[in-house]
């Protein structure tokens, strides 16, 4: 299992990721799955610039990303996967990507969004998608930085 971490973070690559997670995981590659970024050459370039030297960054849409991650999951390479929202991770899971755990790392607040924990807020749709991920056997946890103890989604899900 080489998909070391599948993280939902609406900032994708940023300080907590490059200075904390990459080191903690020993990740050798970052795969960003985001349809909007994959379509936009400028966004792709900015994301590539954000990674430290020696860590390749791939930016893919959901369809290409699923195929790529299924292939990478069978290699020994340590891969960190970043997605902006639960919908993307759910689509990857449904497409057959083996995702044991998904980490909620950064989901901003806003109108209609409910705060679950610190910097993790969800819309009603996202809440449903996270529950669906758990039903499919993917564990959902909140862990903002690598040093944090993971908090099970079930313990902050407002219906529980």
């Amino acid at each position: 299992m080489s998909l070391r971490l599948v993280r939902i973070d609406d900032r994708l690559i940023h300080g907590q990721v490059v200075a904390g997670w990459l080191r903690a995981l020993g990740a050798e590659r970052i795969v960003i799955v985001d349809d909007a970024s994959a379509r936009d050459e400028f966004l792709r370039e900015v994301l590539t610039l954000a990674a430290p030297q020696g860590v390749p960054v791939e930016v893919a849409g959901v369809a290409d990303g699923a195929a790529r991650l299924i292939a990478l999951a069978g290699t020994p390479e340590s891969v960190m996967v970043l997605a902006r929202n639960p919908r993307t991770v759910l689509a990857l899971r449904v497409a057959g990507v083996p995702i044991e755990v998904v980490d909620l790392g950064g989901m901003g607040s806003g109108p209609g969004r409910r705060r679950l924990h610190k910097t993790i807020s969800v819309s009603p749709d996202e809440l449903r998608e996270l529950r669906e991920l758990e039903q499919l056997g993917t564990r959902v946890e909140i862990q903002i930085v690598a040093d944090d103890r993971p908090i099970p989604f079930g313990s902050v899900d407002p219906r529980n």
Partner: protein, 135 residues
């Protein structure tokens, strides 16, 4: 007199502290601003603050960022890729900021290389530094 503006961009209070510390060394530094990213601030909101500090005139601006791949750098590098008058460097340290503050030449390739060199040269471990100095 320096021809370009400098903006220090980074996480939390680091930019303001770095600016204050550079002024401790150089005296008051004109045309220098600090823009810190607050823990709960969104990248879009930070981009607004950074654009305001960069200014909307035609002067060249050097943005010195604390961390390659951090949000301040990501936002600044996106601005720099779209705006050729803006130059963005990651990994700022005090020697680099002092050198940039005291620069009198235009913000050209030569100065950018010089700033990168000064920043790297300012990183040393005592024993290794001593071995190089006395050999």
């Amino acid at each position: 007199m320096r021809s370009f503006r400098i903006v220090v961009a980074g996480h939390g209070t680091l930019p303001a502290a770095l600016l204050a510390t550079a002024e401790l060394i150089c005296g008051e530094i004109p045309d220098l601003a600090a823009v810190g990213l607050e823990p709960t601030e969104t990248p879009d909101h930070y981009a607004e603050s950074l654009r305001a500090a960069i200014g909307r005139d035609h002067r060249r601006v050097l943005v010195l960022c604390d961390l390659l791949g951090g949000t301040p750098f990501n936002v600044a590098s996106a601005i720099a890729r779209r705006s050729p008058r803006v130059v963005c460097i990651a990994g700022v340290n005090l020697p680099m900021l002092v050198e940039a503050s005291l620069a009198t030449t235009p913000l050209d390739d030569e100065l950018i290389e010089q700033l990168l060199d000064v920043g790297r040269a300012g990183i040393a471990e005592t024993e290794r530094h001593r071995a190089r100095r006395v050999s």
